[in-house]
């Protein structure tokens, strides 16, 4: 039986984060050899020593300010095909609008960044009351894809966006022409990690229907098909841990993990407790992208604790790696990583919280990416609370793991 091998399992301390941490940490991580970059609310940190030490990078001052200033919701990726680091930052909305920034650092000059800004008004001058929130990002053979939700100043959902940026231009640092598309029919579009010639992404389409979109690298046309999954509960979510401390107060059923391996696309989200599932769990829907049919639902669930906030990525052999949380019952929120092994999920706890969060605040996303250059391995982000419930007690986790 295969097992999870933790190659590097690091809890990031105050030197790495400068205590610019939040209970809604949203950490992401990427790695290329000894170079590592980790982001979260509201810090960034990098290592050039394989994680032996980290140096704090201040996202508030790293770049000139824009809109209402740096907000949150960062994402970092590493693209091995162009040897570039991609750092996405969201800025605060002011006057009904904001921007997101895409910063690039070449591998040869890791830590030196140039960037482009993107605003709703640049896409449509009439969009004066629209701001970006909740990013996701993934790369294909030749493009960086980015998704965002967009809200109005009253905080109501308005539309979802997908951006498609050519990786060559990002690497070359020249004038950036790009494609974009938006929809009012679906939100929280989740991109598949591991895509090559076509990017797939999906969203709930209401009820038990998934809408799966595809956007070929070589095309300007976005297509979609719908797939039905088995009934699941979309909440309310609850999995109190020791002392009755809740950690799922913010949880909803949006898709937070997605991957593509060959002709199989997988989508994961947190489902509420239901028949045969005494705690919230991770619903996994695997779809055949050729026949457009559901091929399996290998849920991740447990009889004594909940699973939530999954992220996923296939390694180079198509084995699906995951990063998610596990908690409730006798357990405070813990971070776990692992992979799909035939008909089973192999998971290991990387770190356990000593406390549950205040007010049930936890989430909202994690990351799992292919490790470079050993592409059979993964790099994942997580976090726990260590020694208290204050935001300063949040300890981000950097994990490099493989198959033992």
């Amino acid at each position: 039986m295969a097992s999870v091998r933790l190659i590097r399992n690091l809890q990031l301390g105050d030197v790495a984060t400068s205590t610019l941490t939040s209970s809604v940490c949203e950490p992401t991580a990427a790695a290329s050899g000894n170079n590592i970059f980790v982001t979260g609310n509201w810090f960034a940190t990098r290592s050039t020593t394989g994680g032996s030490n980290f140096a704090f990078v201040d996202p508030f001052t790293a770049f000139p300010s824009a809109a209402g200033g740096f907000c949150c919701d960062q994402v970092v990726l590493y693209d091995p095909s162009r040897d570039i680091w991609i750092w996405i930052l969201q800025y605060i909305q002011t006057g009904g609008s904001n921007i997101f920034r895409v910063a690039i650092s070449r591998g040869s000059t890791f830590g030196s960044w140039y960037y482009w800004d993107f605003s709703p008004r640049a896409l449509n001058p009439a969009w004066t009351d629209l701001w970006f929130d909740y990013p996701d990002a993934a790369i294909s053979a030749n493009h960086l894809y980015i998704t965002f939700n967009a809200f109005n100043s009253a905080g109501r959902f308005q539309r979802a966006f997908v951006f498609k940026l050519p990786l060559d231009t990002l690497r070359n640092g020249t004038s950036l022409g790009y494609q974009w598309w938006s929809t009012t029919a679906n939100g929280s579009l989740r991109l598949t990690q591991g895509a090559l010639n076509t990017m797939f992404f999906a969203s709930h389409n209401g009820g038990t229907t998934l809408r799966v979109y595809s956007w070929p690298d070589a095309s300007g046309t976005i297509s979609s098909f719908d797939v039905n999954v088995s009934a699941y509960s979309a909440g309310p979510y609850s999995a109190p841990g020791p002392g009755g401390v809740e950690w799922l107060a913010r949880t909803d059923s949006r898709i937070t993990g997605a991957w593509l391996a060959g002709t199989r696309a997988g989508f994961m989200w947190t489902a509420g407790a239901g028949a045969g599932r005494p705690f919230p769990y991770v619903r996994v829907a695997v779809v055949d992208t050729v026949t457009r049919s559901l091929t399996g639902q290998p849920d991740i669930w447990n009889t004594s604790s909940a699973f939530a906030y999954p992220a996923a990525c296939p390694n180079a052999q198509g084995v699906v790696g995951v990063s998610l949380f596990f908690g409730g019952g006798t357990r405070h929120p813990s971070h776990v990583v692992g992979f799909r092994d035939g008909e089973a999920w192999r998971l290991v706890i990387t770190s356990s919280s000593t406390h549950g969060p205040s007010g049930g605040a936890w989430g909202d996303y994690l990351s799992c990416k292919r490790y470079q250059p050993q592409t059979s391995e993964w790099v994942a982000s997580g976090y726990t609370l260590q020694g208290g419930t204050d935001r300063r007690n949040v300890a981000p986790q950097y994990v490099h793991f493989g198959i033992g």
């Binding site: 704090f56 022409g177 591991g194 095309s219 198509g318 205040s358």
Partner: protein, 83 residues
């Protein structure tokens, strides 16, 4: 071990779709080199972040168009009918 393998064959379904728009973000900024910092060099104050934490940990925003949301309907005012 999973039987799934990456191939070059993940082509899109042949459904009719929607066309993307094109745009330009222009030239990038000049390269910047954010410094690796120590904790005492951080400019945002802990109090600012504590206040931000209060706002940040509220319930999440909508994940998309909700099926139960309908725009408020307000009847138009009309002049009262005379007797």
């Amino acid at each position: 071990m999973s039987e799934e393998r990456n191939t070059l064959g993940n082509e899109a379904p042949g459904t009719e779709g929607e066309n993307a728009a094109v745009a330009s973000a222009g030239e990038p900024s000049e390269p910047l080199e954010p410094r690796d910092l120590s904790a005492d060099e951080v400019e945002v104050s802990p109090e600012e972040l504590d206040e931000r934490e209060q706002r940040f940990t509220r319930p999440r925003k909508e994940m998309g168009p909700t099926t139960d949301y309908r725009a408020e309907t307000t009847p138009e005012e009309t002049p009262e009918e005379g007797s």
